[in-house]
């Protein structure tokens, strides 16, 4: 029960931080995508929403983010549940955010929100495979899917996986940006379609969208910090502090990098993904395999390593 409460508290703190940091950062120039303001004080009255899917959308998106938070460790004991297939579990439950956007967009039944639903589904096809290929590298080096074990393996080998796998890290940043709908991949929430689903939800549903869309950025950045930046391990400071520093740093890096390039349409995202990211991801897996054969990133204390 305490782990559940800690998970919820960490999620709310992270979401609050993200929701406060991001609009301040983006300012008034350029599209703000998922960080654009949502009506929370007043409800939005629609003519013909689908009464089931319209309400299910934001709830399911929030559930996906909270489930993803479960396997993110802030210290060896401060983790909701150290699932033994943690990383795979994470990839799966974050997809519920896409499901929520699809349900909410279709359920609101306005042209703009339905367009948003289509675009979100198309974007899912673009990022899932590169994201998986980027995550495979740390799994291969740590010989485990458990997030705590991956952090421990990096601490024991005295090596962040960012060092031997820069390609994988860049791949993770790009596909992670696609997954969280931040610039330059914010077409489902773009201004020409009235910010997509954000404009047709108000009241508690708007608050849930704010939570889900800020939370997904937070959990994806936190997972990147866990698998590439050594998670909670670090000198002088306690583990949770390191984890927060790395997460926020990666968040800032992702948003800043994404703002340096032009917005991409979903068609451009798909061609980028299939023509560039997936081949590079396969190459990265090959390189990591070679590095492991050469003995890089081996955890000298693990029973299977160092042969």
């Amino acid at each position: 029960m305490t782990s559940v409460l800690a998970t919820v508290a960490a999620l709310l703190a992270g979401v609050g931080l993200t929701a406060w940091l991001e609009p301040k950062w983006l300012g008034a120039n350029g599209e703000r995508g998922p960080a654009s303001p949502v009506k929370i004080a007043a409800d939005v009255r629609l003519t013909q929403p689908d009464p089931w899917l319209y309400y299910a959308g934001p709830v399911i998106a929030c559930m996906g983010v909270s489930w993803a938070m479960v396997c993110i460790p802030f210290s060896p004991s401060l983790v909701g549940n150290d699932v033994n297939i943690g990383l795979f579990y994470f990839i799966v439950v974050v997809d519920f955010v896409v499901l929520g956007i699809a349900l909410g967009g279709w359920g609101a039944n306005t042209p703009d929100s339905v367009e948003s639903c289509y675009r979100a589904i198309a974007q899912l096809i673009a990022y899932v495979i590169p994201l998986g290929l980027a995550i495979i590298g740390p799994i291969m080096m740590a010989r485990s899917l458990s997030t705590v074990h991956i952090v421990e393996a990096q601490a024991n080998a005295q090596l962040w996986y960012l060092i031997p796998q820069p390609i994988g890290f860049i791949l993770y940043v790009i596909s992670g940006l696609m997954q969280v709908y931040r610039a330059p991949f914010l077409e489902p929430f773009a201004d020409p379609i009235g910010r997509g689903v954000l404009s047709v939800f108000g009241g508690w549903k708007g608050l849930l969208w704010r939570l889900a869309l800020s939370g997904v950025l937070f959990v994806v950045a936190a997972m990147g910090a866990v698998i590439f930046l050594g998670g909670y391990s670090g000198p002088f400071l306690p583990g949770p502090v390191w984890m927060v520093i790395k997460t926020v740093g990666l968040m800032v890096l992702m948003i800043w990098l994404g703002r340096q390039v032009r917005l991409l349409s979903v068609a451009e995202m798909l061609s980028l993904s299939w023509k560039v990211l997936i081949p590079v991801g396969l190459l990265n897996v090959l390189l990591v395999g070679g590095l492991i054969l050469l003995g890089a990133g081996q955890d000298p204390f693990s029973p299977g390593g160092g042969h």
């Binding site: 120039n29 350029g30 689908d50 033994n84 297939i85 997809d95 589904i121």
Partner: protein
Amino acid sequence: MPVKTPFLLEEATEMEVSPVLQWAAFGIFAFISIAGALGMATTMSMFRSGIFLMASFIGVAGLFILLLADLLALLQIMMYIGGMLVMILFMLLFSGDPGGGMMSTHMRLRGPEWFFSLGLARSPSGTDGNNANDSSDKEEDQRDQARDSHQEEGEKEESNDMSMFTPAKRGAAGLALGIGVLLIALLLWRPHWAVVAQMPDPDSPRRIGHLLMDKYMIAFEGAGLLILLGIFGAVLLQRPGKYPDSAHREELRAAVEDAPAPVKTDPLKPLGLDRDREK
């Protein structure tokens, strides 16, 4: 085959779950799978149908978790969320009335069809077209209601082909019920299944990986190659051919390649592509 490590209690990370909780979880997941399947078969909305199918499969994934097959459960969820969403997208693009508004307001629905079609595109005047107690003469007059976006894909003019409502439905439902009764009878009759008297391996992903990469490697890689060939075939089929497109497609292509709406406050310089030039 590697020697199977005995199941050690020290390795067990699963919490002991009380039988009441197990039964409750089983009831919930079973209800989700069955209700989802029923909704999939009876609702008038294409989109809802796909979502109900997804819910049904997620219920089945919950049953996998109850059997301690966590990896299989997550694989099931991952495959079906992505796959179903993409399938729904294509269903919407290729069908008239994907939202089921016309179907549900023009037919007298009852039973599960009425329930699972609740709230589909209710007419603005407030009368529910799918309420069985409603005097249904008004329905034809309310045809001219404002079209919502669920009907803008592939609109059709007055097609009376309600092919979703097939007379075979009753027979199919009877057949399914019969098979269900047969299966439950089999369970009650208790034939001697081969039951292995050992605890499941807590590290099932490792075992599955070893099986896929040792024993069934040829089948695994063969399936991968087959899927790769399928992808190549799809890419090959969609490449620009030497035959001219129909005029309709030409219009669509021109609409796609038109310059996008300019972003008001874009601090970046144009890329200098063809489509960025002012036409």
